[in-house]
């Protein structure tokens, strides 16, 4: 009987296409649509903050260089991972990530909580030539980042595009994007105070690449690496393995 129906079906091209669409859509609809409607999917957290323009630019460099191909940003709910990298990742921590960078491969270690674990200086030395700091490393060197000035003039449109996909940047943040990016990497400038005003007192304002007069791609990337895992403290609360949030001043 089934065969009879199929014999009919395989005689009409359009009918066959419709049957394919029907069979193939069920899985995706059942698994994806509820992720938007079930409230427990993403935890509610008070202290979740946005990426500053400099950190967002750093994130875009992380994407551009394909760092995600070798580094995950997702600590799984497994004992050895929690002990190696820190509390397991929560959904809320990538709430403002468009796209997410959970990764699929660890040729290098997970970076979900690398923020604050190493000094800015270590990161710059490591990115300039990883084998200077970790002799066994097979990571490419990114020395040119420190030589390349960061493009600042279009950061406002980046923030605006982020807002249109749902990240709550304010008009003020969008307007001041370029100033804030400059200020975050040049601590002595007059623009520096605006960054902490808009993004919170705990925002790290620093000459990330060691040069306090100009903003390079190295500044942006290190600023991004230093915020990883520190947008919210939620993962450190109510966890089986209590731990302090790393503090870069230690």
């Amino acid at each position: 009987m089934r065969e009879l129906i199929h014999r009919k079906l395989e005689r009409t091209a359009i009918g066959f296409v419709l049957a394919i669409i029907l069979a193939a859509s069920v899985g995706g609809i059942v698994e994806i649509a509820p992720l938007f409607t079930i409230d427990e999917t993403v935890e509610d957290v008070e202290d979740m903050r946005l990426y500053t323009p400099l950190e967002l630019a750093g994130r875009n460099i992380y994407i551009r260089e394909g760092c995600y191909a070798c580094h995950s940003q997702m600590i799984r709910t497994l004992r050895d991972e929690v002990e190696r990298y820190g509390p397991f990742s929560l959904a809320v921590e990538s709430k403002y990530d468009h796209p997410m960078l959970w990764g699929s491969k660890r040729t290098g270690p997970d970076l979900a909580r690398v923020g604050g674990k190493y000094s800015d200086f270590w990161h710059v030395a490591h990115l300039t030539n990883p084998r200077d700091v970790v002799p066994e490393s097979n990571m490419p060197a990114y020395a040119w980042l420190a030589r390349t000035p960061l493009r600042l003039d279009d950061l406002g449109s980046h923030l605006a595009a982020q807002r249109s996909v749902g990240v709550p940047y304010t008009d003020e943040m969008i307007e001041n994007a370029a100033r804030d990016a400059f200020g975050q990497a040049v601590p002595d400038s007059e623009q520096a105070s605006g960054v902490t005003e808009r993004y919170g007192e705990e925002t790290q304002v620093s000459a990330f690449d060691g040069v306090a007069t100009r903003v390079t791609e190295m500044d942006a990337l290190v600023a991004y690496l230093q915020i990883l895992g520190r947008l919210t403290k939620a993962a450190y609360q109510n966890t089986a393995a209590p731990e302090q949030v790393p503090d870069p001043s230690d």
Binding site: V26, I63, A91
Partner: protein
């Protein structure tokens, strides 16, 4: 292009002019951005094709009797695209593999660093090599199994050259750092939009050709090609919904946030495997295997079972890429369950293929081409079993993030996708160029053993490295502390990374041998006497108005 009418040539020229203007606009709007370089590439590409069209515009009108024959010219060009992308993609792959063992092999340049060439490798082999192989063979198979000429003369060229423009823009973009970072969907918004246009044309062409068929039933191979075309369109559109920063920026931001993005991405990612790398290549299997073995497919019922099983089950399986992550547990469980069930239709396909060979095993021994196809079916069975196994949560806790996944993917990509493609090409090339045989049967044999040895070395190296890596990460000392630092596990990987690069190199050499052999076949092997049987049935009726009895 000698078969195009004057009107079709004019239309082609008009399309290329529009494309050239789009290229100029992109170059102007994006003069401070990589999108400007892509504008220049689009412009050059369209002008180059325009030159080809214009230089043939005063040629003689096409032979009216062409309508009563199959349209094989686009297939011939597609074969070359396939072969060249294979060499390019595999070369980048070997290079990337070597960089993992010797990191200075990027020569301190940005464009050649691992993170940028890795997507160039994956796109080069999946979309460049695999995609061109699928489009090319689908044009061949749909005509032969429908006994009808392609429904249109211009759109096959549009699909072929348009698709390759997408691949070129995607790959050149990665070298410049233009990427969405979504694995296997790295190409940015404008390339994605272009692919939608190309893909819709492809679908319309395919369905129109099927509508002209002179067989009441649509053959199994076409079910798979249809599933490939339709579902890839759905996946591509949904995963690539983005908001560009501006029309002058290559950069865009996906509309999907965090955890939802992870699910959409791996729903896409896993079904790119399912409908690009499985369904499309099963279509090749269902046509070229019975052709080459000269045996009918073992079981029609198994074909139905496996087709609908694959179409339905695969779409649920993507979340097995996200075990133990912040994705809700219920989705992970669904993904695992369906991944395990997927073994049934997968092995039904592989078994159906191998049982088809009953009564033809002596040919597998003597004919390296048939051995390619047989070994592909074997690796298909192997890697689908491995896939279901790796999707089980406790197994995945060990294998995920390690080289085991990479080994699994390559068991499928080298052992299944590439072997079935070369087996199909060795069958297709003499048929459409109407040659008596391949230039050298010995070189086919050499290619088989290079490809087989390369695959086995690669996969064993990655199994070993992946399992060692996974175990080292979770090993505890007697005192209850982690036994190995991350760097310890990396140091243990180096021998396997070298072995893997060597396996890949063997496979690449095989691809070069194949290209040479096919080149010499087209150049030097005597043509067959006119093959009277290779024309559509009732060719004298083929004016496009007549329809098959079943429609």
């Amino acid at each position: 292009m000698g078969q195009l009418t004057t009107r079709e040539r004019d239309l082609a020229a008009a399309i290329l002019l529009v494309l050239a203007i789009v290229g100029i606009a992109m170059a102007a709007a994006g003069r401070f951005d990589p999108i400007g370089v892509h504008g220049a590439i689009v412009l050059l590409y369209s002008l180059g094709l325009l030159y080809l069209i214009m230089s043939s515009s005063f040629g003689p009108p096409p032979d009216p009797s062409r309508i009563s024959r199959y349209y094989d010219d686009p297939i011939k060009v597609g074969v070359w695209f396939t072969l060249l992308w294979a060499i390019f993609g595999m070369f980048i792959g070997v290079w990337a593999a070597a960089q993992l063992a010797w990191p200075s092999l990027n020569f301190d340049t940005a464009w050649a660093s691992f993170g940028r060439i890795r997507p160039a490798h994956t796109t080069g082999v999946i979309f460049g090599f695999g995609g061109n192989a699928l489009i090319t063979t689908s044009f061949h198979v749909v005509q032969r199994t429908s006994r009808a000429r392609l429904a249109d003369q211009l759109s096959p060229w549009f699909v072929l050259f348009g698709y390759n423009l997408f691949c070129i823009v995607a790959v050149t973009g990665y070298f410049m750092g233009v990427t969405q970072s979504k694995e296997y969907a790295e190409a940015e918004w404008y390339a994605d939009l272009w692919l939608v246009i190309v893909w819709v044309t492809y679908f319309v062409l395919y369905i129109r050709t099927l509508a002209r068929r002179r067989e009441p039933h649509i053959y199994v191979a076409n079910w798979y090609y249809l599933a490939f075309i339709v579902v890839v369109a759905i996946l591509h559109i949904i995963n690539n919904l983005t908001v560009p920063v501006s029309l002058g920026h290559a950069k865009s931001y996906t509309i999907w946030p965090g955890v939802q993005d992870s699910m959409v991405q791996w729903w896409y990612g896993h079904n790119a495997v399912a409908f690009f790398l499985t369904a499309g290549f099963l279509a090749m299997l269902y046509y070229y295997l019975p052709k080459r073995a000269e045996r009918p497919i073992f079981s029609y019922r198994l074909s139905i079972l496996s087709f609908w099983g694959i179409t339905f089950f695969y779409m649920w399986a993507g979340s097995h890429h996200l075990h133990y992550t912040a994705l809700p547990h219920w989705v992970q469980n669904l993904g695992m369950t369906f991944s395990v069930m997927l073994l049934v239709p997968s092995w039904a396909s592989a078994g159906n293929a191998l049982l088809t060979l009953n009564g033809a095993w002596h040919k597998v021994r003597d004919d390296a081409t048939l051995r390619f196809i047989m070994m592909a079916a074997f690796f298909y069975g192997l890697s689908t079993f491995e896939g279901s196994f790796l999707a089980v949560r406790p197994v995945n806790s060990l294998s995920h993030y390690t080289d085991w996944t990479v080994g699994h993917v390559h068991a499928g990509a080298l052992g299944w996708v590439a072997l079935i493609t070369y087996g199909s090409l060795y069958t297709l090339v003499p048929a459409i160029w109407k040659r008596e045989r391949m230039y050298s049967a010995a070189l086919v044999e050499v290619h088989f053993w290079l490809a087989f040895a390369g695959t086995v070395i690669y996969v064993f190296a990655m199994w070993n490295s992946g399992i060692i890596q996974g175990l080292m990460w979770r090993t505890y000392t007697g005192e209850g502390t982690l036994a190995y630092s991350f760097v310890d596990s990396l140091v243990a990987m180096y021998p396997y990374y070298i072995a893997r690069a060597f396996g890949g190199l063997l496979f690449l050499i095989g691809a070069v041998v194949a290209t040479y052999n096919i080149w010499m076949t087209v150049r030097g092997v005597p043509a067959l006497a006119e093959r009277h049987e290779d024309v559509p049935v009732a060719a004298h009726l083929a004016d496009g108005a007549a329809t098959g009895p079943a429609e």
